[in-house]
């Protein structure tokens, strides 16, 4: 896929010296669904607004289809935005809202009308053209906002926290629908969200941002399974963060926590023998021991068991005060599962390639900074 948008060393500092976006470089591919993910204040919205033309970088440049648009106003960019509050014009009907961008462009009336109708059909609100925005539900408003932003056939659609105004049920449905619309029309989508689940459900690629910088870019599975930094590991999904001591013999790296020890398959090769590090293990990757398991096997004493419907969470004491969470998916009724009870000692296993190892100081900084999702 060819690149449609290129951000080159873009930096934006707000009045008062807050660096919102710090030297970001990024290529966005034609037709992809890209999500910028991060906590509030990480610079994702500012980046989006710079792409839309609502903010201008202090330095660096933005190229759209190879053309420099760094300082172009919004009305000179073939890019449209769906705003967080939808920003529907309250004094115009739904149809007039959708037609607005076409009217400005001087499109003939007949063509405008057919394009608007086409859009109303696409968002499945064919009868709502004469309504005013305040006569619509939140979900309907979002669809109208989407139609209005797409009617001009922009090169890129920007979505600023599109789901934040919706309730949980509607949110799930819209996530899927938006994804479908993207796949159908083939326009590049760039979305901003702080919701990691949403980002993984919808995106081709995710950019995790932190303090104005990019932590990692990759597909959802890349990011989830192979986080590049402790920050990404912590921000996406749930993780056990276990302080460990590493022993290294040649390429063999083993992390020790309490009485358990874990072989590590993925590491950057620079790990020193005896280093104090933090080990990240996804709770669902730990399995109650099965015969013939080829993973790391360790023992722990059950402290507590929490039932949550489709799964149980088991807190295991692996010695030296270290507690590890295990998510165990239930494929039978609870009574038949033969689950351990508090006080039992159980054997578990985890595959080496699912474990990530990060610098202790880096991991501690995340815990202290409270940046966990």
């Amino acid at each position: 896929m060819a690149d449609i948008l290129h951000l080159d060393h873009v930096t934006k500092t707000f009045r008062g010296g807050v660096v919102a976006v710090d030297d970001i470089s990024l290529n966005i591919r034609e037709g992809e669904f890209l999500t910028m993910l991060g906590p509030s204040g990480c610079g994702k919205t500012t980046t989006l607004r710079m792409i839309g033309g609502f903010e201008y970088p202090d330095s660096g440049s933005i190229l759209l289809d190879g053309k420099d648009v760094t300082d172009a106003p919004p009305y000179q960019r073939p890019v449209n935005m769906m705003f967080q509050d939808f920003a529907l014009f309250p004094h115009m009907t739904v149809a007039a809202n959708i037609a607005f961008g076409l009217k400005i462009a001087g499109m003939p009336r007949a063509e405008t009308e057919s394009r608007v109708k086409e859009m109303l059909d696409m968002i499945e609100l064919p009868q709502m053209g004469d309504r005013l925005p305040n006569q619509l539900s939140n979900g309907q408003r979002q669809r109208v906002a989407l139609a209005r932003a797409l009617v001009r056939h922009p090169r890129i659609l920007l979505l600023d926290e599109p789901m934040s105004a919706l309730d949980a049920k509607l949110k799930e449905a819209m996530q899927v629908e938006l994804r479908h619309i993207h796949d159908r029309i083939g326009i590049t989508f760039i979305m901003v969200t702080h919701d990691q689940t949403e980002s993984m459900i919808m995106s081709d690629r995710i950019i995790v941002m932190n303090r104005g910088r990019i932590e990692q870019v990759g597909s959802p599975t890349d990011l989830y399974d192979r986080p590049a930094t402790a920050y990404v590991a912590d921000f996406l999904g749930t993780s056990n963060m276990v302080p460990v001591t590493v022993t290294r013999t040649g390429d063999q790296v083993v992390a020790k926590a309490g009485e358990a020890s874990f072989r590590i398959a993925r590491h950057d090769g620079a790990i020193a023998d005896g280093a104090a590090m933090t080990m990240f293990i996804r709770p669902e990757k730990i399995r109650l021991a099965v015969a013939g398991d080829d993973g790391n096997v360790f023992k722990g004493q059950v402290r507590e068991v929490f039932f949550s419907g489709n799964a149980v969470r088991i807190d295991l004491d692996i010695g030296a005060g270290q507690v590890v969470m295990v998510h165990h998916q239930l494929d039978t009724a609870l009574g038949d599962a033969g689950l351990p009870a508090a006080g039992d000692t159980v054997t578990c296993s985890v595959k080496p390639e699912t474990i990530s190892l990060f610098d202790r100081a880096q991991a501690d900084a995340i815990v202290r900074g409270g940046a966990a999702a």
């Binding site: 033309g53 919004p74 009305y75 529907l88």
Partner: protein, 289 residues
């Protein structure tokens, strides 16, 4: 004491004072004015009566029409001038001033003249607009004029300038309030959809501030049409306004019935303007939802 009675008593405790105020200083005087407008003039005073002679005089004698039309014309001009000055000012305050503190300062600076005596401010305009005033001196200094112009003071122009200056805050306040209520995302959305600044202003900002504009027009029109001071201070021989005529009827002419009839007519003009602007605003709000 049961709940309902206690509730009723609370109502009276809370509202008796404002209601008494409303009845004694608003309703009763208006009723008195209305009844006097039907009295008969009998030198040197008037006698209670019920006849429409005073209204007939207002209809027949063209001097009252002349003054009435002039008052309405001047008030419309004042409102337009206040709008022309007030809207950009409110826009600047609401949209262009980024610092909260500076905005507050400028807003207060706009409003604070209202605490300065009207007379003082009107006199100030006299010293600006007069034949030997600041404006003439300036225009002569920069060479636009060879000799002082008498066109600036003692005419309708001076009245409109003075009143527009004095009443502009009443235009700025409601427009500022309605501008502040516009989510910035609407402006951005318009630009995002290809509209430039001017187009965005005409299609989005202005329509959304119409309630504020209407309120501003209603204020400035109402204040100007009843103005009594500026015709005396900066107006000229052709500047008599309806309030001056009413004052003359209650004063010099001692013709209270005729003055009261004029007062009633003026009351209805102002009520008409308020009703019209209310209707327009409602229609607009229906549109806005």
């Amino acid at each position: 004491m049961n709940h309902a009675r206690r509730h009723k008593m609370g109502f009276w405790v809370l509202f008796s004072a404002p209601m008494l105020w409303w009845v004694t200083v608003l309703l009763v005087p208006y009723l008195i004015m209305l009844s006097i407008s039907f009295y008969s003039r009998q030198f040197p005073f008037h006698v209670p009566d019920f006849q429409f002679g005073n209204y007939a005089i207002l209809l027949q004698d063209s001097q009252y029409w002349t003054v009435l039309l002039r008052s309405v014309k001047v008030s419309i001009l004042v409102s337009l001038a206040a709008f022309a000055m007030g809207y950009p000012l409110a826009y600047f305050l609401a949209f262009k001033v980024r610092s909260e503190r500076l905005r507050l300062f400028l807003y207060v600076a706009t409003i604070v003249p209202l605490w300065v005596s009207y007379l003082l401010r009107a006199y100030t305009w006299k010293t600006i607009l007069g034949s030997e005033g600041i404006l003439n001196s300036f225009l002569m200094w920069i060479g636009v004029l060879d000799e002082p112009s008498s066109l600036f003071l003692y005419n309708e122009f001076a009245m409109v300038v003075t009143m527009a200056y004095i009443f502009t805050p009443f235009m700025v306040m409601p427009i500022y309030a309605s501008l502040e209520k516009i989510p910035r995302s609407l402006i951005e959305a318009s630009k995002d959809l290809g509209a430039g600044r001017f187009s965005t202003f005409l299609r989005i900002t202005l329509p959304l501030t119409m309630p504020g504009v209407l309120a501003g027009f209603t204020f400035t029109f109402g204040l100007s049409v009843g103005d009594f001071v500026s015709p005396l201070l900066v107006g000229g021989p052709y500047s008599n306004m309806i309030s001056n005529v009413i004052a003359t009827q209650f004063g010099m002419a001692m013709n209270w019935p005729l003055g009261a009839a004029l007062g009633v007519v003026m009351l209805f003009i102002v009520l008409g303007v308020i009703t019209a602007s209310d209707k327009l605003e409602r229609a607009g709000r229906l549109n806005l939802g």
